[in-house]
Symmetry: C2
């Protein structure tokens, strides 16, 4: 069943935005009484289309909320790479994405373009959340500098090409009980020593992901896959 | 340093193909005495450009050969998705890719198009191997049917949306000593019951990857990341 995120809920009516209404009417060609899945406020509903394309709640569906928060700090990359990261990270359960301005980032955005880009990014995250049938949409923040990062409590990891010994797996094994993990990924040219030291001073642990030489946009997918794999049940 | 795969080695000369020579001359604008990395026969060399753009071996570099073979069986998908899988799987250490014809695959290729596509796929794998500084290029075979799969000895896994209990992690924990793993990923519409039974009869173990709802092209990246993560050193 097609899933949409509602703007609001008023009594037993779910309010969708115009893009979604267009999708329902014109792309999906749905009719009166057809049912859709609608999420509002992390709650999943089954909704029924009325004649005027209002959506009436038919049923409330119980859902699990994932209690482990995964926050990705990623460098600014060119658009197609950012899009891939946003889409795939949503599929792989990311909670929040913070684009970070780093010294060796090739891409720089002025304020106006950054604002436009943020709106685009939010749209990608929303659509990917619908496709992956999430009950939340990952948050994306405006671009930040390392020194302006706040709310950094949790297990903090930085993927470093200078680290040889301390594997991601080792760090996760030694920190099993975390409920929030923050992972920073460097740009194509790597982090500068100054940036790495700055992060270590803020409590980030340097980890290696092994011998593979990955493109930058592959790294978040690797890390998210590993986190999901690590949390799988073995019994 | 830029890496290329050689066609042949004759005494202390490495023979590159025309595309690579074009890249060296025109894109990279390299000159006499500039050095490149060249792989031939899973052996890495440092080569030096001569006046006539022949490449002379300067040094032989010792390299580790990965002893764990990872074979992916993937459904036929539309071109952009296939390209993504090939590129990212190469980064993530795949050994061999076998495209499989499955009942619910949307994409079908006739013989002529399949042959052309295979050449394209090989090119993508080669370029990704150069970028990821591999010493081997993943093999890709022509499209096969499940019943024509041969050489299936090793740990065999099929990612199934019908499986709830048996996680990938559990299966890997119970089969630590494998040196060859074969992973089959179904198409968008999933495998048919008949296909799943057929695979189970051939010794495939059904596994779940957890609660995430991923696009098909994300699944191989998830599995390869998990395999790499599982083999990380913890000490």
């Amino acid at each position: 069943m097609q899933r949409y995120f509602a703007l609001a809920k008023e009594q037993n009516k779910l309010i969708l935005n115009n893009d979604d209404l267009y999708h329902i009417k014109t792309v999906m060609r749905m009719r009166e009484n057809d049912q859709i899945e609608v999420v509002f406020n992390n709650q999943l509903y089954i909704g029924k289309l009325l004649t005027d394309y209002q959506v009436e709640v038919v049923k409330t569906i119980p859902t699990d909320i994932n209690d482990k928060q995964i926050i990705l700090l990623i460098p600014l990359l060119k658009e197609s790479k950012m899009d891939l990261i946003l889409q795939k990270s949503t599929e792989l359960g990311v909670s929040k994405i913070i684009p970070v301005e780093l010294e060796r980032s090739i891409v720089k955005l002025d304020v106006l373009r950054a604002e436009k880009r943020l709106i685009r990014w939010q749209k990608i995250l929303r659509e990917a959340s619908e496709q992956s049938k999430r009950i939340d949409i990952p948050i994306i923040t405006p671009i930040k500098k390392i020194d302006n990062l706040t709310d950094l409590n949790g297990l903090k990891i930085v993927c470093s090409t200078n680290e040889r010994q301390n594997t991601l797996k080792k760090v996760l094994k030694n920190n099993k009980g975390y409920d929030k993990i923050i992972v920073l990924i460097g740009p194509e040219g790597g982090l500068t020593d100054k940036e790495e030291n700055n992060l270590v001073n803020k409590g980030f642990i340097k980890v290696t992901l092994g011998q593979l030489i990955m493109r930058v946009e592959t790294v978040p997918l690797f890390v998210l896959s590993a986190l999901n794999y690590e949390s799988m049940v073995v019994k």
